[in-house]
Each structure stands twice: as structure tokens, then as C-alpha cells.
């Protein structure tokens, strides 16, 4: 599969094309996306980062499909299960914010591998837990690994150019999120294999947890051994040789958090990705308990939700890029708002359905919409800030988890609401929290309901406004300059070719 971006037409220097297997732009970011290539450094970075993220997702959501067994072994109550679900996604709120800054400072390769390797112990220790507190703690610490999402997005945004960044981000994140679905299939299968080898129920589930743990460890090794931070090299090497100036951490952070768009994307992402995380936590038990299915069947149905990520989230990213080609940033925003709102509507339906067949059908359609909305979010995020890309990605990613925490706290803790009612209410909240997307406005491109500013703000004006004149004198802003040039494509076709 190949996705062509406009940057390729702009032409690259012959020296640049000789160095890289793929055509690149002024920042040496690839302007095309070749799925079946592992060419250094762009496509290799893609495959390493999505696989590592996939493994982290598998580990974080390894417990839910086995809950019918675990809850009996550890004598858990519904409240304990709810708390563990909240814990599993709350650790990563903080971790995602920190990861954004860590990527800005140390590079995505080291930051992500360090996180993955240090959370692997939590997965291994799941085998030895004996009480509800132990369960909540391992889920909490294992959940930190979901912050590798931020490093994935950061890495893709560093490797791929504007016209294809939505697709690259969408596919990498989508295939990572796939882990949340794959684990619902993998864990029951691993569990039954171990049982067949003679272990009792209450021992078999414990042994099963070594599989996700091992995969997590091995994926981190692969990233460290075969990955590279930037098209031109690693952060470490470039820092020392002076090629990459170290930016002021405080400035990067304050520039990021003062950008209101980052807060809106954080909230909206909380109600597409947050919904996805919540469903990953509750859906297997929902089908098991409500429709009296066995563990494997409930697992397969639950898995189909997460497995839609294979094409749904990338589809969102690609759709975002397609809309941008024709309608620019405004197209991206409209597409995002519509898809996310529809996802909320379908979620509200899901809770009202009493039949098994229709539940599965609606759930599948709902999964496509909610995951596409996640992809569409990250079609917009790379353009909010260039200087504080990591911080904005981190905020948005963290917002996703905050949404999951809030939703589970309000609707899925203990026995206040039945699961069905909780799902419907979650859908309604999703619709409400998607409305702020209407307020995102870029002076150089416009927003959903307003055109670009009459003051004729250019992309250069917008991105270079992040740097002070002192910093510009030191030439710290050059990367933003290059980015501004390539982002002109976000104006859409009508403005660049008004005759057509």
C-alpha cells in the first residue's frame, strides 16, 4: 500500500534521495508511506513503534478477558473490578504527559523503550497476586505502558511529512490499539492451552500472563537495537555533535499548555479513545454476564471490537488526509466532528439493545466510528504546534485516558448503574464532549464555521509566533520554518488552485 503526498511533487535534492530509500521533504521526513517496506529509517521506525505499542496494549488489557476466572480466584467484588479498570487507565494519564516532554528531550526511541521495560515487571508480577489490592496495583503499573502511544505519534510525526502524517499516525496507533482487541482472543486461548496441559483454573490464568510480559520485553529490545529517532540520526548523537540545539523545557511546556487547541483535542480524544479504553475493559464481562456466553465466545466478540482498529483507525487517519487534500484543515475538523458524534450515537444505542445478534452488529459499527474518530484526532494534532509537538501529543493522549478514568468512575464503578445503562450514558456524554471541536480555529486556515482570518495570517506567522525574536536570532526556529512551508498543503485544493 502506498500513500502519496504532495511533498513528493515539490522535488527533493538528489543528495537527499540518495541517502534515503523513500522520497523526503526539506526536513528529511518521508513524503510517502510504503506499508510493506522496512526501509531504514522511516518505515522501520513505523513497524517497530506500532509493534511495541501493540504489545503494551496487550499487557494492559490482558486481565479483562480472564476476569470471570480472576474474580473468583481473588474474591473480587464489582467495586474492586471497577477500581482496577480505572487504575489501569489512570497511571498512563501522568505518564503520557511526561512522555511528551521526554520525547522532546531524549527522543522517542529511548523514552518508549525505557517505559516498556520498566513496566514489564508489573505484568510478570500479576502471576503472584493474592488479593484485590494486588490486582489493582498490577493493573495500575502495567497501564503506564500505554504512554508509548505518545512516543509512537511523536516518532511518526518526526519521520513522515504533512500530507501523509495523518495516515502514518493513524495506522501506527490503530495497529497498536489492535492489542486491546487481540488480547481478548489471545488470553482465553493461552489460558485454555495451559489448562489442557494440566494446570487448575486458578493457576492457569497466572501462567498466561508471562506471554504478554515476554512480548513487551522483546519489543522494547527490538526498538533499542533497530530503531532511530530522526531521519538524520539519534537524539543522543545529534545533541552531542551540536546539530540539534536543546530547547528550553519550561518554554516548550508553557508554549504547549497555553495553546487552547491542545485542551480541546484532549477533551475530544477523551471521548473517542477514552470510550475505546472503557469498552476494552468492560465488554468481555458484559457479553459473558448479559448473554450467558462462555469465556471463549465472549472473548471473540469482545475482540472484534478492538480488532476493527486494524482498518478503522488507519481509515480515520487516511480519511483525514483525503479531506485535507480537497478542503484543507477545515475538512479535517468537519470529518472528525461528524464521525465522533455518530460514534456517540451508536454507543447510546448499544446499551438499549436486548438481542445478542443486534448487540454485536451495533457494536461493530460503533467500533469503526469511534476508532476512526481517534485517527481523525491525530490528523489535526500535528498541526497545532511545531515547537511543542510532544507536549500537545502528550496532553491529547493523556486526555484520552482521563476520559476513560472519568467514564469508568461515573458509570462503571460498583453496581450503581447496570452495564447497559452505563454504555448508553457514555454515548450521550461522548456526543456532548465532541461539541468543543467546533471551536478549534486556525487563523491561517479557519475553523469549522469560520474561514481563515481576514488579516491574512500565513503558516509561517502561526508557527514562528511560538519563538521569541531572541530565539530566532539563535536560529532555533529553523525546524518550525521548514514545517510551516510544508504545511501550506492544509489550505486545501480550492485555495491553491482556485480555477478548478
Amino acid at each position: 500500500m502506498e500513500v502519496e503526498g504532495k511533498g513528493g511533487e515539490a522535488g527533493t535534492t538528489t543528495t537527499a534521495t540518495r541517502r534515503f530509500a523513500l522520497p523526503v521533504d526539506a526536513e528529511n521526513k518521508s513524503t510517502t508511506f510504503r506499508l510493506f517496506s522496512v526501509a531504514k529509517p522511516h518505515m522501520r521506525a513505523f513497524h517497530l513503534s506500532w509493534f511495541q505499542f501493540f504489545c503494551c496494549f496487550v499487557s494492559t488489557f490482558a486481565a479483562p478477558p480472564l476476569l470471570p476466572i480472576i474474580r473468583e480466584n481473588l474474591n473480587l467484588t464489582a467495586t474492586d473490578i471497577g477500581n482496577a479498570g480505572i487504575a489501569s487507565v489512570s497511571g498512563s494519564v501522568f505518564a503520557r504527559i511526561v512522555m511528551g516532554t521526554a520525547c522532546d528531550l531524549f527522543g522517542p526511541r529511548l523514552a518508549s523503550a525505557a517505559l516498556t521495560l520498566s513496566t514489564a515487571p508489573a505484568v510478570y508480577f500479576t502471576a503472584g497476586i493474592k488479593s484485590p489490592i494486588g490486582f489493582i496495583m498490577v493493573r495500575f503499573f502495567a497501564g503506564f505502558s500505554l504512554a508509548t502511544f505518545v512516543s509512537t505519534q511523536f516518532w511518526m510525526s518526526s519521520m513522515f511529512s504533512g500530507p501523509v502524517v495523518g495516515s502514518a499516525n493513524g495506522i501506527a496507533a490503530g495497529w497498536g490499539n489492535l492489542g486491546g482487541g487481540a488480547t481478548q482472543l489471545i488470553m482465553p486461548i493461552v489460558f485454555s492451552l495451559i489448562r489442557r496441559m494440566g494446570a487448575t483454573k486458578f493457576t492457569a490464568w497466572r501462567i498466561a500472563f508471562f506471554i504478554p510480559g515476554l512480548f513487551q520485553t522483546l519489543s522494547a529490545f527490538a526498538v533499542l537495537l533497530f530503531g532511530q529517532d530522526l531521519p538524520d540520526g539519534d537524539y543522543w548523537a545529534m545533541h552531542k555533535s551540536g546539530e540539534r540545539e536543546k530547547d528550553d523545557v519550561g518554554k516548550v511546556i508553557s508554549n504547549g499548555i497555553s495553546n487552547y487547541r491542545g485542551w480541546i483535542t484532549a477533551l475530544a480524544y477523551g471521548y473517542c479513545f477514552g470510550v475505546e479504553l472503557t469498552i476494552d475493559n468492560i465488554i468481555a464481562e458484559y457479553f459473558f454476564d448479559r448473554f450467558h456466553l462462555n469465556l471463549q465466545t465472549a472473548g471473540i466478540i469482545a475482540a472484534s471490537f478492538g480488532l476493527a482498529n486494524f482498518f478503522a483507525r488507519p481509515g480515520g487517519g487516511i480519511f483525514s488526509d483525503l479531506m485535507a487534500r480537497r478542503f484543507g484543515m477545515r475538512g479535517r475538523l468537519w470529518a472528525w466532528w461528524i464521525v465522533q458524534t455518530l460514534g456517540g450515537v451508536l454507543c447510546a444505542f448499544l446499551g438499549q439493545i436486548h438481542s445478542l445478534t443486534w448487540s454485536i452488529v451495533v457494536m461493530l459499527i460503533f467500533s469503526v466510528f469511534v476508532q476512526a474518530a481517534c485517527g481523525l484526532t491525530f490528523g489535526v494534532v500535528p498541526f497545532i504546534s511545531r515547537r511543542s509537538l510532544g507536549v500537545i501529543s502528550g496532553m491529547t493522549g493523556a486526555g484520552g485516558n482521563v476520559g476513560a478514568v472519568l467514564t469508568q468512575l461515573i458509570f462503571f464503578k460498583g453496581s450503581t448503574y447496570s452495564r447497559e445503562t452505563g454504555i448508553t450514558l457514555m454515548g450521550i456524554m461522548s456526543i456532548a464532549c465532541s461539541l468543543p471541536i467546533c471551536f478549534i480555529y486556525f487563523p491561517q486556515w479557519g475553523g469549522m464555521f469560520c474561514g481563515p482570518s481576514s488579516k491574512k495570517v500565513t503558516e509561517e506567522d502561526y508557527y514562528l509566533a511560538e519563538w521569541s525574536s531572541k530565539e530566532k536570532a539563535k536560529n532555533l526556529h529553523l525546524a518550525s520554518q521548514k514545517f510551516a512551508e510544508t504545511s501550506v498543503s492544509e489550505r486545501g485544493r480550492a485555495s491553491t488552485h482556485p480555477q478548478t
Binding site: L117, Y124, G213, W236, K240, P452, S495, T496
Partner: protein, 241 residues
């Protein structure tokens, strides 16, 4: 190409530009009204389907069953808490003498099950008692299922290894030839508060598992440190070049 873009952008006046934008933006969703109508219609269909499928079958209720069986369940050894996989319970069941003659005419099988006492159902909706028999989750563990031969029965049952920690009683269902429950009896009273016994589950953990966890964790963290040291050395080398 870049220069050309800038010129075009500058040539257009503010109102011209906005006009241009709005012209192409509106037709972007020419079928928006149609899409909304289709969506509403489809949702109407879905809802009517849901409502019609609810009408359905008459479910058998627990309250329809007659209490015709007398069941007792006593731990073999006089312990406070029974250990799963080790301790035993003596279970006896027979037809109540106070019942009508021939009340057991329809019985083909007796199914004896282990049931949760209300205290073990608190905050655990997957163990909830429902009046509809197919929905009821009170008695998920089957102890034994025997053909009915009109004589009193007795069984010394070892608590299964996968029985969770909790408080239990025993219930026996009289089942007819169609597999439907027709009568029941239980070792506890109607409120399920008397004659209960407690079970402590196995932990499922093993020392070997704990050791493996520690080994793998240490391996992960140590290899991370090794990588960091290697990276620093590489960076120092490149600086010297």
C-alpha cells in the same frame, strides 16, 4: 510551486476568499439532509426490532416450583471453613414426607447444585438471584446429577478445586423428562441465612511462579540499564570523532 501559491493567496481579497471558501464548503455535504433522514429511518427500524424481540417466550420462574425435596448438607469434619480440594460435605436428599402422594411422578433426574448465600452475592452482579430460572445465577456449580429412583440418597462430596471463597448452601432440583425444573429443595431456609458453610479457595499461586516473575523482571530492568550505558558510550565516541 510554493511561490505561485503565495501569489494566489495574496491576490484574493478578504471577502472574495471567504466567498470562495464558503461556496465549496456548502456543497461538500449536498446530501447531508438525506443522510440524516436515512440515519433516523434506520434507527427507527432498529428500535422497532428491539421492541418486537422482547415480547418473546414465557420464562419459567423459581417461585413456580414446589418445595418437595428435603436436603441437608453438613461438613464431614467440624471445621469453621472448608478448604477447597480437601474437605468434604455430606449431602443427603429425599422426597418430603409431608408432600402429596405421587408428587414425584414427573421426576426423572435430580440435579444437586452448590449455591451462593446472599452474603456472597453482595456487590457481585454475576452471582445475582433472578426469579427467571434461565437468568438465575445463584447456583452455578453442579455437584452431581443422578436419575431419580424414589429412594433417599446420600453423598460425601469433596469441595472442587475451582470453588471460589464464599458462603454456600446446597439446592437440589427435580427435573422432568423435558429437562425442565419442576420442584426443588435446599439445605437452608427460605431467606438462605441458616445452615450455611464457608469455603476457602485455593490460591492458585506457586513458589515457582513467583521466582519466574522475579527473574524476568530483573532481566528486563537490568537490560534497560545495559542499553543506556551502551548509548552513552556510543555518544561519547561520536563526540570524539
Amino acid at each position: 510551486m510554493m511561490a505561485k501559491d503565495h501569489t494566489l493567496y495574496q491576490d484574493l481579497t478578504c471577502t472574495q476568499f471567504f466567498h470562495q471558501k464558503s461556496i465549496f464548503l456548502l456543497p461538500k455535504f449536498p446530501n447531508s439532509t438525506m443522510t440524516i433522514h436515512t440515519l433516523l429511518f434506520v434507527s427507527l427500524l432498529i428500535f422497532s426490532f428491539i421492541e418486537s424481540s422482547r415480547g418473546g417466550n414465557k420464562d419459567r420462574l423459581f417461585t413456580e416450583l414446589q418445595n418437595l425435596l428435603e436436603v441437608t448438607a453438613k461438613p464431614v469434619q467440624d471445621v469453621i471453613v472448608l478448604e477447597a480440594g480437601k474437605d468434604m460435605v455430606t449431602i443427603k436428599w429425599k422426597l418430603k414426607s409431608s408432600g402429596k402422594v405421587d408428587a414425584d411422578a414427573t421426576f426423572k433426574t435430580i440435579q444437586v447444585k452448590l449455591c451462593y448465600a446472599p452474603i456472597s452475592q453482595v456487590d457481585r452482579p454475576w452471582r445475582k438471584t433472578h426469579n427467571e430460572l434461565f437468568k438465575d445465577k445463584t447456583c452455578p456449580h453442579e455437584i452431581v446429577s443422578k436419575p431419580y429412583d424414589k429412594t433417599p440418597q446420600s453423598l460425601d462430596w469433596t469441595v472442587d478445586l475451582d470453588i471460589p471463597t464464599g458462603t454456600y448452601f446446597v439446592r437440589a432440583y427435580g427435573i422432568d423428562g423435558d429437562g425442565q425444573e419442576v420442584a426443588y429443595g435446599q439445605s437452608s431456609d427460605e431467606g438462605r441465612t441458616k445452615n450455611l458453610f464457608s469455603v476457602q479457595a485455593i490460591s492458585g499461586g506457586h513458589v515457582s511462579l513467583d521466582i519466574a516473575s522475579i527473574l524476568f523482571s530483573v532481566f528486563s530492568v537490568v537490560s534497560l540499564l545495559v542499553f543506556f550505558v551502551k548509548e552513552k558510550k556510543k555518544a561519547k565516541l561520536e563526540q570524539r570523532e
